[in-house]
Symmetry: C2
Subunit: 146 residues, 2 copies
DNA sequence: CTATACTCTACTATTATAATAGAGATTATA
DNA sequence: TATAATCTCTATTATAATAGTAGAGTATAG
């Protein structure tokens, strides 16, 4: 698995929307500014996230984006897979890969599968509700630290 | 972590050398043919592996490549990191990454670290001696299966 | 009506990946 | 010592992925 900028931006945006869930739409402009994301790039990412059903949009004045589902219903892994593709560290682990000739004998295959499985278990056990809670706690801690 | 073709080729080559450890040098040609690797690409990979001290070479007739260390002394993780870079799924986890502004508050950081650690633990617990043993066992099984 | 905000498609720049090419250096051995 | 086999080194190329940028178009609240 490799988290690209696009993936990083998508996750931070969904987290932002999670932190304001139920408070009405947030504009691309605000989302981009708060997470320091190039606005035109974020536009594209949001259209992708919309096509996948993670977010919905309101056009015109008072427009913006909001989550289609509650943060508790969105797993970290879902967003990662949608934006940055399959979790496995090598395409072989999935079906149909030219490199994988000796499917039955390749000794690396089990290792890549194991890594994929433990990584999947981690990112599928975390929802954006969890992340939002942690973000609130963590910013509270920072306030105390300052 | 992302295993590239180059990484895949390097691992298969070190495994081949491990399976013939102590039997003298093997030519690039043989290594390339047996693993179905483009020969000129493998030349470069072997030079890299040599520079890192994984293998050594003999020039001229009866030349070829052999392992610098016993297979039991080469961890899978060492080769993966050398060829395909750091294990973490996002550069943020390492020091000095522009994306990582709120080091103290980013809630994703711990997750990427956890994935890096479990992946590292997996690939650092396996040596090429282990892999060679598995390869022998697995090919024995295939013989019986046919 | 119009300012604000999302939509859609195309384009571009940079880097990484996966090779390919070819001339050069070394060595066993006939 | 000639020579075939083999590694060495640098340069070049092709393709794809990544990370944007650009701009015209559509919808809506007030
Ligand atoms: S060749 Fe596909 S996992 Fe090894
Ligand atoms: S911004 Fe670096 S891990 Fe989140």
């Amino acid at each position: 698995m490799k988290i690209t900028y696009k993936g990083d931006y998508a996750l931070k945006t969904i987290l932002d929307l999670s932190l304001h869930f139920g408070e009405g739409p947030i504009t691309i402009n605000d989302l981009a500014r708060r997470a320091d994301i190039p606005i035109k790039f974020l536009e594209q990412i949001l259209l992708d996230l919309k096509s996948a059903g993670f977010v919905e949009s309101r056009r015109g004045k008072i427009g913006g984006y909001l989550l289609s589902r509650a943060p508790s219903e969105i797993k970290l892994g879902e967003v990662v897979r949608f934006i940055d593709g399959p979790i496995e560290p090598i395409a072989c682990v999935d079906k149909s890969y030219k490199g994988c000739k000796d499917l039955s004998t390749c000794v690396f295959r089990n290792i890549w599968s194991k890594i994929r499985d433990s990584t999947s278990a981690t990112i599928d056990s975390i929802t954006f509700e969890d992340l939002a809670r942690r973000a609130k706690e963590s910013s509270a801690v920072v306030v105390y630290q300052i």
